[in-house]
C-alpha cells in the first residue's frame, strides 16, 4: 500500500519536474532570454536526441547494426512536407504522415534485410539509405537535388518537447515490456532465442519499424524548423553522425543516447571554427570507444529513481 502511494507521489513529482522544464524553456524563448543561436542548437539537440534514441532501439537493444537511419529521416521529412506544404494539411497531419511513411519504409526494408546477419545487414541498410537518397535526387516533383525550400516553420518548442517525450516514453516502455525482453534476447543470443520459440525476425522487424518511425518524426520536425530539405543532407555521413552518438552513449542505454546526443550537438557547435577536427574527433571516438570502452558511457545502465535514491542515501 505504501509502495503504491510512494510510486504515485514520485510519478506526480516527475510530471511536475517535466512541466517545470518545459515551462522554463518556453518562457526563456518567448521572453527572448535564449538568443537565436541557442534556440537553433536546442532544436538540433532535441532532434538529435530523438534520432539517437530511435537508432539505439535498433542498434543497441536489438543488436542489429543499421547504417541507413538517415534514409528514414529523409522519408519522414519529405512525407511531412508533402502533406503540409503541397497538400495544405495541418502540422499534426504532417507529423503523423511522416511517422507512417517512415514506419512503412522501415517495414519494407526491414523484412527482407533483417534476415541477414551482422555485417551483411549493416551493408544492406547502408545501401538502402543510399538508394533512398539517389531516388529522391531524381524525382523532379520534389525538385531533385535542389530540394524543397521555404517550408513553413511550424516546429516550435512545444512540438519538439512533446515529440522527444513521446519517443523516449515509447522506447523505454517498449524495452521494459515483454516485447523488449524478446528484443534483448535476440541481441544476446539469436540462435538460443530462436530455439526458445521466439520469432526473432518479427521482433527485429518490430524494433526496426519503431526505430524508423521515430527517425521519420525527427525528419519532419527537422524539415519544419530548418525549412530546407535536400537529398544530400540525408546521406550516410548523417547516418554515421547518429551512430557516433549511440556508440558514445552506450549501445543499449537510452539515457546514454540522450546524453551523448546532447554532448555531440554542443561539440558540433563549438567546433564550427575548426572544420576538419570535428570529423577526426568523431572517427577517434568510434575507434577508441569500441576498443577501450565498448559499452560507451552508460553501458546498458539507465539512470533511474533507484540510482538516485542510492546516490542520495535514501532507502532502497
Amino acid at each position: 500500500m505504501q509502495e503504491k502511494k510512494r510510486n504515485w507521489l514520485s510519478f506526480g513529482g516527475e510530471v511536475l519536474i517535466l512541466a517545470a522544464i518545459f515551462t522554463i524553456v518556453q518562457y526563456a524563448i518567448t521572453a527572448g532570454l535564449l538568443n537565436q543561436y541557442y534556440q537553433i542548437n536546442l532544436a538540433s539537440m532535441v532532434i538529435n536526441i530523438i534520432l539517437a534514441v530511435s537508432l539505439n532501439l535498433i542498434n543497441g537493444f536489438t543488436g542489429q547494426l543499421s547504417l541507413g537511419h538517415a534514409g528514414f529521416m529523409a522519408v519522414g521529412a519529405y512525407a511531412s512536407v508533402i502533406m503540409t506544404n503541397m497538400l495544405g494539411y495541418p502540422f499534426i497531419a504532417g507529423l503523423l504522415m511522416a511517422c507512417l511513411a517512415a514506419a512503412l519504409a522501415g517495414f519494407i526494408i526491414g523484412v527482407p534485410t533483417l534476415r541477414l546477419k551482422g555485417d551483411y545487414l549493416a551493408i544492406a541498410t547502408l545501401a538502402f539509405g543510399e538508394v533512398i537518397r539517389v531516388v529522391l535526387q531524381n524525382i523532379d516533383a520534389v525538385n531533385g537535388p535542389a530540394g524543397i525550400v521555404g517550408i513553413s516553420r511550424l516546429t516550435t518548442w512545444p512540438w519538439l518537447f512533446g515529440a522527444m517525450l513521446l519517443t523516449i516514453l515509447v522506447v523505454v516502455n517498449l524495452v521494459n515490456s515483454s516485447y523488449g525482453r524478446a528484443i534483448i534476447s535476440v541481441r544476446e543470443d539469436e540462435i538460443a532465442s530462436e530455439l526458445m520459440g521466439i520469432n526473432t525476425t518479427s521482433y527485429k522487424v518490430l524494433a526496426f519499424v519503431f526505430g524508423a518511425m521515430f527517425a521519420g518524426l525527427a525528419g519532419a520536425l527537422y524539415a519544419h524548423y530548418f525549412y530546407i530539405i535536400k537529398p544530400e543532407t540525408f546521406n550516410f555521413l548523417k547516418s554515421f553522425d547518429i551512430l557516433v552518438m549511440v556508440v558514445l552513449g552506450g549501445l543499449g542505454s537510452t539515457t546514454g543516447a540522450v546524453i551523448a546526443a546532447m554532448f555531440i550537438t554542443v561539440l558540433t557547435a563549438v567546433l564550427q571554427s575548426f572544420p576538419a577536427i570535428r570529423m577526426i574527433l568523431y572517427a577517434l571516438t568510434l575507434i577508441i570507444v569500441m576498443i577501450y570502452r565498448p559499452q560507451g558511457l552508460m553501458g546498458n545502465r539507465e539512470l533511474s529513481r533507484q540510482t538516485f535514491g542510492r546516490i542520495w542515501g535514501g532507502r532502497k
Binding site: A28, N35, Y38, P145, A146, I228, L237, T254, S304
Partner: protein, 392 residues
C-alpha cells in the same frame, strides 16, 4: 524485477544542467570591437563541396589581407570570423546565428544556393546583409511563392537563367548547332538548373535536345554514357557542372573520338581543366564565365599573381575570384555608406553602380543580382581566348 522508467527524470536533470551551462557561457562573444569591422565568413570547409568552399575562402582572405594592408576600411581593420557550415543548410543557419552573436556587420558565403537559403532566415531576422559569391539559383534572392525580394541577400555571380541561355544562344547562333546533348551534374541544383535554361532557349531557337544524361559529384568514369551520346552524334554537347568532373569527362570524350564542340559554365573555370584534360583535348570547347583569368587587364593580372604568391603557386578558380569580389563589393558598400551599420551597408549594397570587380563590372539590380557582362571563352591550345562578350 520491475524497472521504473526514471528515464524522464534523468533526462530532465541533464537538460536543465546543460541548458544552464549554455546560458551561463552566453555572454561570450557579442562585443563588437571599436577598432575592427567583424565580417562573418560562413563557407563549406568540410562535406561535399569542401574543395570549392575552401578556394572561395582563400579568395576572400586574399582580398581582406590586401585591404587591411592598405589601411582597412574607414580607418578600421577587417576582422574575418571563419566558420564551417559543413555543406549543410541547417548548419549554415546555426553558423549564421553564431556569427550574428559575435557581432558581424555582414556575412560572406556560403557557396551553394541551398546553404545560402539556410542562412537567409537568420540574416532577415537580424537585419544583417549577406553577399553570396557563387549561389546561382533564382530563388536565392527572390521568394518564388510571393515574388518578394530577400532584403538582405545579394550576390556577385550570374543567375542560372542568364548563363544557361547564354550558351544556348551561342550554340544555336554562332556554332549553328541543330541538335545538342546535355550531360549535366545531376547531383547539384547548379547543374540541373543550368541544363533546364539551356534546354528552354535551345529548343526555342528551333534546336532539338537528343538526350539528357547525368553524372554525380565524384564520378570520374564517363565512358559508358559518352559512348551512348556518341551514338546520337550531336552537333553540340553541353556539360553544366564543376571542373572536377568536367575535365576527365572532356578528356574521355575526345579520346573516344567525339569531335563535336563542347560547352560549359563558370564551374569549369580552373587551371585543373588544362592539367587534367590536356590542352589538345580542350580544343573546340567553350564555356561561359564572368571573366578570364588570363586576361591581360592589370587588375586581373595583379589578382592572379597575388593569389599564386599567397597560395603556393596555385591558380585561382572561379570560386576564388568570386570570393575576392564578394569582399570587394562589401567594402565598396561600406565606403559608399560611410558607415559600418548593417542597415546602412544593406542600403548601399542595393544601390551599387558600376562596381569594377575582377569578375566584371557590375551594377546591382532590383532583384539584388549583379547586372554584368558574360563572356564566352574558347580553349585554344591550353590558353583561354575571349570569344564573345555579351551585355545583358
Amino acid at each position: 524485477m520491475k524497472r521504473r522508467s526514471g528515464r524522464k527524470l534523468a533526462m530532465l536533470v541533464m537538460m536543465t544542467f546543460v541548458l544552464s551551462i549554455l546560458a551561463g557561457c552566453g555572454g561570450g562573444g557579442s562585443e563588437t570591437q571599436d577598432e575592427q569591422i567583424n565580417v562573418g565568413i560562413n563557407v563549406e570547409l568540410s562535406g561535399g563541396v569542401a574543395s570549392y568552399g575552401t578556394n572561395s575562402k582563400d579568395g576572400m582572405m586574399l582580398a581582406i589581407e590586401q585591404i587591411n594592408a592598405a589601411g582597412g576600411v574607414l580607418g578600421k581593420q577587417l576582422n574575418p570570423i571563419i566558420k564551417d557550415c559543413k555543406s549543410l543548410p541547417d548548419e549554415a543557419m546555426s553558423v549564421s546565428a553564431n556569427l550574428v552573436g559575435e557581432g558581424i556587420v555582414a556575412q560572406l558565403g556560403p557557396l551553394t544556393s541551398g546553404n545560402v537559403q539556410g542562412s537567409t532566415s537568420v540574416m532577415m531576422d537580424n537585419g544583417i546583409p549577406l553577399v553570396a559569391p557563387a549561389a546561382t539559383a533564382v530563388n536565392v534572392t527572390v521568394d518564388e511563392k510571393t515574388g518578394d525580394i530577400m532584403d538582405y541577400i545579394f550576390r556577385v555571380c550570374f543567375i542560372d537563367p542568364f548563363q544557361g541561355t547564354l550558351m544556348a544562344e551561342f550554340a544555336s547562333t554562332n556554332l549553328e548547332a541543330k541538335n545538342a546533348a546535355i550531360y549535366m551534374d545531376a547531383s547539384s541544383d547548379y547543374g540541373k538548373g543550368l541544363a533546364k535554361y539551356f534546354k528552354e532557349t535551345f529548343e526555342a531557337n528551333g534546336g532539338t535536345i537528343v538526350t539528357e544524361e547525368g553524372f554525380v559529384k565524384g564520378d570520374r568514369d564517363f565512358k559508358a554514357t559518352l559512348t551512348k551520346i556518341k551514338g546520337h552524334n550531336p552537333d553540340f554537347i553541353y556539360i553544366p557542372g564543376y571542373y572536377e568532373e568536367a575535365a576527365p569527362l572532356i578528356k574521355q570524350a575526345r579520346e573516344m573520338g567525339i569531335t563535336a564542340p563542347i560547352g560549359g559554365t563558370d564551374g569549369w573555370d580552373s587551371s585543373d581543366m588544362v592539367a587534367v584534360a590536356t590542352a589538345e583535348n580542350l580544343n573546340n570547347t567553350y564555356f561561359t564565365n564572368h571573366y578570364s583569368s588570363q586576361d591581360t587587364d592589370p587588375q586581373i593580372v595583379a589578382f592572379v599573381e597575388a593569389y599564386k604568391a599567397k597560395y603556393n603557386g596555385k591558380d585561382p578558380d572561379s570560386f576564388a575570384a568570386l570570393g575576392y569580389d564578394a569582399v570587394q563589393l562589401l567594402v565598396q558598400a561600406i565606403n559608399d555608406a560611410n558607415s559600418t551599420e548593417p542597415e546602412a551597408i544593406t542600403a548601399a549594397l542595393a544601390t551599387i553602380k558600376d562596381f569594377q570587380g575582377i569578375t566584371g563590372k557590375m551594377t546591382i539590380d532590383e532583384q539584388h543580382n549583379p547586372v554584368k557582362a558574360g563572356v564566352i571563352i574558347e580553349f585554344k591550345d591550353g590558353g583561354q581566348v575571349m570569344k564573345a562578350r555579351i551585355q545583358p
